[in-house]
Symmetry: C2
Subunit: 713 residues, 2 copies
């Protein structure tokens, strides 16, 4: 059952959904405030649709001078709409879809609601819609969706009366689950961010969020995608679509709703999606090059930067302003956000020095002082000196205060200067007064950031995407299990520790030499054979927590002690778990002192399949939850990157005079484990190695404890 991993994920071309040549409107109307009328007006009055339009309404002969047809079936022979927009009440939708599919319509957009979001019967109807459509080679978008807003072509296949208000064109596409928040992003256009198109996937009877992300990843005029996600329906499809975008250099800003307990509860009552495990989702997003944000305004911030430029590898940020306090604050907040301020080249400092007064600050941040008000030409020379510095990748302009026309005038000057440099110039508009300067920046598409904090976050994310592109975009695909969970298992089998270690050992993981003692005498002999202190552990089916039942003895020094320990362990476990068949006691030499205890785990996420978990074990794990996660496969290089991202990374590298630990051997172990799991298809349910002993550099690693659960079919 391995073939599913490798089958490519296929996506239909959605170009004709976004730019149809011919549209049928099923449910066209001129009744005030009806969906049918609003959709018709968006097509004929508020937008620029120039193709064929066929109205369907069995009760009317014409609407506004346009002929109406009683049904899709009744359309003249030879008429084959690319898109049918369906706005009729729920009961008639399935029949309309049947007729559309039969007529050869390519896409049905079902704006009507009252399906899966209301009842199980509605959900079943959605499945029927999909089947009917697919039978005729048609795709369905919706139901319960707001339709398509193609802003670049001023085309609205939507009933929304707000369509006409949010038409600022640009290079960022929006793909959402949830209509209101999608519209919120469109209103972000008032701050300067322009959009290519918006689709919100509704109930996802057929087309999913992933299909829209994939579509946008193929549009040459799209530089980035903003996504609002409640839950991923098909992890494999989602990952394939995301990688198509990010590997192609298109950033994805994503806000996941349902990350906290409250949000999960609220989202669950609001939609039918699985919200997923927040930590797993975040790890997957990072691995796919997706930029996860914390709020809707941060989506606009990130999109606005993507629209300005792809991060170019010059990570130095310059701060340029005329208020010392604001410059200091912004430098402070950028620093706290982990953004690096550029160190100017000597030539840059010279250019600044030649045009600024002696009391100005020319080191980054540049505080020009108020001289720029009396002699604005100073801005031209000094701003360009900064933007052209070889280490500067982006210039921020803090505006602490709105001074009406005065600010407007400097804003116009910066807009003009932006046309003369490829380095993005990003204003930070810190005032609550949105005056002329703000409007000048917004209209020029120089989307002001609304706080230093937001600017810091957005710039850090933008730079991080640049680094992902440089370092990670060429990585092999993660293992994408079909539909995440694979076939249903007949049962789950927990291996005993020795069984598990045999499996791991055969896969190349270093496990300690072991003997099984069926009697106290055998235990004594085994201890003698090892000639060193041993660990002794009960072997019994279904005993997960061996310590809790008195089943473990550590540091047993000699043969006599081993015999005594054997008796003690057997007696304790018999008392604590009389139900369990005891298979003996496992003896292994103790790991040398001076190693680290590390947790290495494999689990199956319901959406994204096999995930590796990696982190310091013991108390540290429970106190600080300092673990890294990644979808399989994980090789040694990726293991090293995951370790480097932990807060405990300095410990692995060596600190306080310690030379560090054997992360190379740990990398080999993780790679072997990953290969083992991948090679067994859906055969592994869970593996937890806790702890893995990681010795000092060169001393290797050892699996000290292993819990393995297999899926049986």
């Amino acid at each position: 059952m391995n073939e599913a991993h490798d089958a490519p994920v296929l996506f239909d071309d959605l170009s004709e959904l976004f730019s149809p040549h011919s549209i049928a409107l099923v449910g066209a109307s001129d009744r005030a405030d009806s969906m049918g009328r609003r959709t018709l007006e968006n097509l004929t009055i508020h937008g620029d649709f120039r193709g064929e339009l066929h109205l369907v309404n069995p009760m009317r002969a014409e609407i506004g001078g346009r002929r109406c047809w009683p049904s899709i079936e009744a359309l003249p022979a030879g008429v084959r709409p690319t898109v049918a927009i369906i706005v009729i009440p729920g009961a008639g939708v399935l029949e309309a879809i049947r007729q559309c599919a039969q007529r050869g319509v390519r896409f049905a957009i079902v704006l009507s609601s009252g399906f899966g979001e209301e009842s199980a019967a509605g959900k079943a109807l959605e499945t029927e819609m999909r089947r009917t459509a697919h039978a005729g080679g048609m795709r369905v978008y919706g139901p319960n969706c707001p339709g398509i807003v193609n802003i670049r072509e001023r085309l609205g296949l939507t009933f929304s009366p707000a369509f006409r208000d949010d038409l600022r064109p640009g290079s960022i596409a929006i793909a959402t689950q949830g209509g209101a928040l999608g519209r919120n992003l469109l209103q972000g256009g008032d701050r300067g961010c322009g959009y290519a198109a918006w689709a919100s996937s509704g109930n996802e009877a057929d087309l999913q969020l992933a299909d829209f992300i994939h579509h946008f990843s193929r549009q040459p005029d799209v530089r980035g995608v903003l996504a609002l996600l409640e839950g991923v329906r098909d992890g494999r499809r989602f990952a394939a679509a995301a990688l198509a975008a990010t590997r192609g250099g298109r950033g994805i800003g994503l806000l996941k709703i349902g990350r906290s307990e409250y949000g999960m509860k609220a989202a669950a009552s609001h939609t039918a999606s699985i919200t997923g495990v927040a930590e797993v989702n975040s790890a997957v997003f990072a691995q796919l090059g997706i930029t996860e944000v914390d709020d809707v305004d941060e989506l606009v911030d990130f999109g606005a930067l993507l629209a300005r430029a792809q991060p170019c590898g010059r990570d130095g940020i310059a701060v340029y302003g005329s208020s010392g306090g604001a410059c200091a604050l912004v430098a402070d907040i950028l620093g706290a956000a982990g953004v690096e301020l550029a160190e100017f080249a000597p030539a840059t400092l010279e250019r600044l020095r030649s045009r600024l007064p002696s009391y100005a600050a020319i080191d980054n941040p540049v505080d020009t002082t108020a001289i720029t008000l009396s002699d604005p030409s100073v801005i031209d020379h000094t701003l360009l000196a900064v933007a052209e510095d070889p280490t500067v990748g982006l210039v921020v302009l803090p505006y602490a205060i709105d001074y009406a026309e005065v600010t407007g005038a400097t804003a116009r000057r910066f807009v003009e200067l932006q046309s003369r440099t490829g380095t993005p110039i990003v204003p930070i508009w810190m005032s609550e007064r949105l005056g002329e300067g703000y409007r000048v920046f917004a209209e020029a598409g120089m989307t002001p950031m609304r706080s230093a904090r937001n600017a810091g976050k957005a710039i850090r994310r933008w730079l991080a995407f640049g680094r992902w592109l440089a370092e990670r975009a060429d990585r092999p695909d993660p293992l994408l299990l079909a539909q995440g969970i694979g076939p249903e298992a007949r049962s789950i089998r927990l291996l005993t520790e020795p069984e598990g270690k045999v499996l791991l050992g055969e896969a190349g993981l270093p496990v300690p030499p072991a003997r099984i003692a069926a009697s106290a005498a055998q235990a004594g002999l085994a201890a003698e054979a090892f000639g060193a202190p041993v660990a002794m552990k009960i072997i019994g089916r279904d005993i997960v927590h061996k310590t809790d039942v008195g089943g473990v003895a550590l540091g047993i020094a000699d043969s006599a002690a081993a015999r005594a320990a054997w008796e003690r362990i057997i007696a304790a476990v018999r008392t604590a778990r009389p139900d369990v068949a005891i298979e003996g006691v496992l003896l292994e030499p103790m790991a040398p002192a001076g190693g680290l205890e590390v947790l290495v785990g494999i689990s199956r996420d319901a959406v994204f399949g096999y995930m590796l978990t990696l982190g310091l074990g013991g108390v540290h794990l429970e106190l600080s939850r300092d673990v890294a996660r990644a979808m399989l496969p994980v090789d040694a290089r990726m293991c090293a990157e995951l370790l480097a991202g932990l807060r405990s990374a300095p410990l692995f590298d060596g600190m306080r005079g310690h030379g560090g630990y054997d992360v190379d051997a740990l990398g080999s172990l993780v790679e072997a484990l990953s290969t083992l799991v991948v090679s067994r298809g859906h055969g592994i349910e869970e593996i937890e190695l806790n702890p893995v002993w990681v010795g000092p550099k060169g001393a290797g690693v050892q699996v000290l404890d292993a819990l393995v659960r297999l899926r049986e079919y």
Copy 2:
């Protein structure tokens, strides 16, 4: 030298500075764009000053029909202005101050710049100003300051042409260092936050930020203070002023500039203040009940909540909206911010159920669905049901989208409802389109939050201030050393470990029994006497890191091993540090296994005096910097609170089946240490106990290592 701790900090009454009966303007002018003219116009045209105004300008007989006097001295006998505003160039300022002090002026406001911020000579002039003023019983505000903006009385003792633009009255006062960012806060009035007054302390030749904070703490119509801080000049004064405000129930929102390395550098080049140590500052702010924020917009957010209500102890937050997606997002972000959503009482749920459709969500968050658009009266009943719920302390209203008049109409309804409930109703305006609804809320003073994230942060801080008031406001004053650093020490003396432990032992701290071995033989005898494994450590003046020079041997099991260890230690240290006089080897019984290693430290902060540092020692300390800090004195109760705030708190309490550690004994140790330090006045330079061994509950604590430095006078 102990008396300085107890001397009260005195503050002059600044009421007449903010509301003078009589003003002299030294440097009055009618020259276009001059400071003198702009200040005069703010007094006579743009503001409401109704008292006596005396113009001083030796070159003019009158300005705009008002008589001019050549100097303060030349004013008619009997004229005694409460405030003199000085706007003349730097050279004449000191003489003007002399004349003002002689005439009995109460306050001189020096708006002129060119003093300490430019040169050492300017700094010296400031000292002279202060001396001259104090000699005549006068106080100086400035120089290089923007003056006083008394918004409630529409009074501007300022040259700022923006004075007339930012006059939204309210109950929040602003005290800043740095003019531009102060004006930024005033422009926050456009979002609905109203202000009582603003002072920005300029070069602080005399009056400091603390004096203004103290003044605002005594104004009955002030409910909170927003402060922008670059550096604290006098920690004792700052703390006294802050406590006057916070203990009186007035929250202080504070933004510290210069927290990151970049910010410190930028702030240092911008002002003369000491930026201070960021971690110490933050700990002190928390102890004083000050709410530290991360950006200027967060100051406005916090101030706006303070203006609405003092937190009442009902910590439950309700979310009420008509978009399911926005409700879920806001619940999510509030949850992530650590804010608790209220669990409604059955009666509340009943009231909601009776008025909302069956498909609405009535559990918190409340998603009314769009029914509120067709039947707005539903809002009245259901919003009030939520606001009156006994667990609800605040209601947030997410607005994801601006729908122009429609949104304006619901906003007006909420404004009306706010007049009928004491529970603050706080809109979150998530859209970049600031339409009618936004303006309605702003004009009503219902200051919309600009993102769910900001709302979450502000509400968490507002609730935390409520808890501080309930739990901490009655704590004894922190130990406030006069001017922080006290008298200059002649020298600093490092005690040897046994000397230090004797000092600590006499103060009641548990130190292990110890013997000093001057020979290998003595070491052997000592080990025998203890009858248990011992720790052996070199005793040598000026050896700080004993391990680094081979000066430590642990777990020495018997007499023979002790003799050998003695020889080894002496030889190693002689080689490594031939410069040091060796005083022998210290022997102590090893602490029992199974304890925690904890760091307890005392240091002297240059601004705030003695600080305690407390946290898990060892690797954990270096990896996670998980320490708590507080100004002395710290008693056992406060020690327990500090421990409870650590990320490692669960470890102290007991986890993974462990019963926890002896935090009571640790509390007694910390209290004894605090008492020792306080009793010695300025006598301690530093104490570092690393580690203190903390045994299991009931097993006590022991100072295992001690580094003590004394100040000698």
